[in-house]
Symmetry: C2
Subunit: 335 residues, 2 copies
């Protein structure tokens, strides 16, 4: 099985030692990835974007891989600023304040008029808006409650490309077809797990993420649009490394680390569900190229049906499926 | 504030070293408790009940405390066996197979005719049936789905006292008033937390329990019947100690340890919610005395409004509210 130019349209590469430790997990098999800006402090100036990109390039070494950089959204961004920063970013990421790891400086309330100057400028400059769509409500309702905000933004800014990031609910899937300018990324883990896997048996901190995995009917809705390669849906791993001790502790951090195993698991999943390979190719790259208008560096990943036992950790980060055996291995990556 | 003869109608005392370590947490302030039988192997013979009770008595030393013993339900129990065991037990606990810690030998399927010999004998002998009411369904639906089984049992065995243990949903609260022979215990933690507290921010293994904490509207329904001391509702902590390492690990065990702080927190909760002290007295003792027909050993617990910082652990078991400060302290316990 061959996949060409895999893209991960939602990736956390972190910074410092963690960046050094995990960057190659993505760069070795993906052609590029949308890099999330929620560092401490968040990436919110042109200089910070450039400097972060340089640190990423240093960490990936000689791999051929494009980090598509993003900026942390602030309502204060004006057109002049956005024009100047446009050349170094691919999108801007909006976080509701306090909703996930390092999102304290995000948006509170979603007053369209307050957001209008920045969002209209982005619309005119054709900069996509990536959104972590959760309210501060009850954990199982947060994303469904946010759909009305997506609809408000999509209506108020009809030319703005809005990416509903890491969607987890049937409500978000339904919103895709209601508004021309709404798109979505879906993670690997939300195609596979529900809350049952996180908290239905023993509590599994390594499957704890935000948004939290939802109900079986939500997972089914996500799986359907992924397997059919719905043209508005892209793969975005939301692969989010935390050190082992921060996951297995008294207050475990949110995030699932899937970068090194995503392609192998997707290959198995699409095969098991009898979805054609071309759909996986569209989900993993083609749709994103069209939605974002990007042309990734060439890379061909050959997968073979050969058992692969996932390591217990990658440089101290525990991946999804640690110590379990997957059906597919990566045989070769050709640039 | 004085509470007399507090009873904990659902308690896990475990066995061996853990029993030694935590038995006094309950025995020092409660007059008695219903002791759950899910040891390994489960307590399922008269000899095992007697031997376990002796180990408990040894562990509590000179405290005045009655362990109300239970047997692990098996459909094979016949009337002759139940007659012989009746003198050493207060109730029998039914676990659906595999639903919680050490419940592998429990009931699969709830065929009334299969259960009839044992449950009719219990009904005739006036032995209450305590039930862990969860199906194997999706984690947020398991208890609500089980309500139809409660209703089937309550209808088929109208004279059998059925205690819906550690209820967590509005559906179970509603069932209380539909069937004369349905009763319920409610834990401390389910009066206080929802799934938001377990998984809405960081993941909190020490608040992970079975049944899992549910939605805000469920918590409100539980709180209402507790605060009004609904006559069919009793306090049962489901205090369930696990060693710290088993809670803070890759597959965390279910259970919240509340025994040493339950009375203090209940005092504060009832005060904050402006419920009369007599309701707390009924919830913590009076209702249980009537439902079970037990007369506890005398014990008067005096609480005072004085800050109490909860220890980080009690002999290696992390309690709810570890390192936090409660408004009430226990001033004196008089026998």
């Amino acid at each position: 099985m061959q996949l060409t130019a895999p893209l991960d349209m939602h990736l956390h590469l972190r910074d410092g030692e963690m960046l050094e430790n995990i960057a190659k997990s993505s760069a070795s098999t993906f052609s590029g990835a949308i890099i999330m800006p929620n560092l401490v402090p968040p990436v919110s100036s042109k200089e910070e974007v450039i400097a972060y990109k340089e640190r990423i390039m240093a960490a990936i070494g000689d791999e051929k891989f494009t980090p598509y950089m993003t900026l942390f959204f602030k309502p204060s961004y004006d057109k002049a600023f956005l024009e100047s920063v446009k050349e170094v970013i691919t999108a801007i990421k909006l976080y509701p304040a306090g909703i996930t790891t390092n999102s304290e400086g995000g948006v509170s309330g979603f007053d369209v008029e307050e957001l209008r100057p920045a969002l209209e400028a982005m619309s005119e400059l054709n900069i996509p808006l990536c959104v972590h769509g959760e309210t501060n409500g009850f954990v199982m309702d947060r994303e469904a409650e946010f759909v009305s905000i997506y609809e408000r933004l999509a209506t108020a800014f009809p030319k703005l490309k809005i990416i509903m990031e890491h969607i987890t609910t049937k409500e978000s899937v339904e919103a895709l077809d209601k508004f021309e300018n709404l798109y979505a990324t879906i993670t690997l883990h939300h195609l596979i797990i529900t809350l049952d896997d996180v908290a239905g048996g023993m509590l599994k901190p390594h499957l704890f993420c935000k948004p939290i995995a939802k109900r079986p009917e939500d997972r089914s809705a996500l799986l359907k649009v992924a397997l059919e390669a719905h043209p508005k849906v892209m793969f975005g791993s939301d692969s989010a490394p935390h050190p082992k001790h921060a996951k297995e502790s008294c207050g475990c951090a949110a995030g699932v680390f899937t970068a090194p195993i995503a392609l192998q698991v997707l290959a198995e999943l699409f095969e098991n569900e009898k979805a054609p390979l071309e759909n996986l190719q569209a989900f993993i790259s083609g749709n994103a190229q069209k939605i974002y208008g990007v042309t990734p560096v060439s890379k061909t990943v050959t997968l073979e049906k050969k058992a692969f036992t996932v390591p217990s950790d990658y440089n101290g980060v525990v991946p999804m499926y640690a110590d379990e055996t997957l059906a597919y291995s990566i045989k070769e990556v050709r640039e």
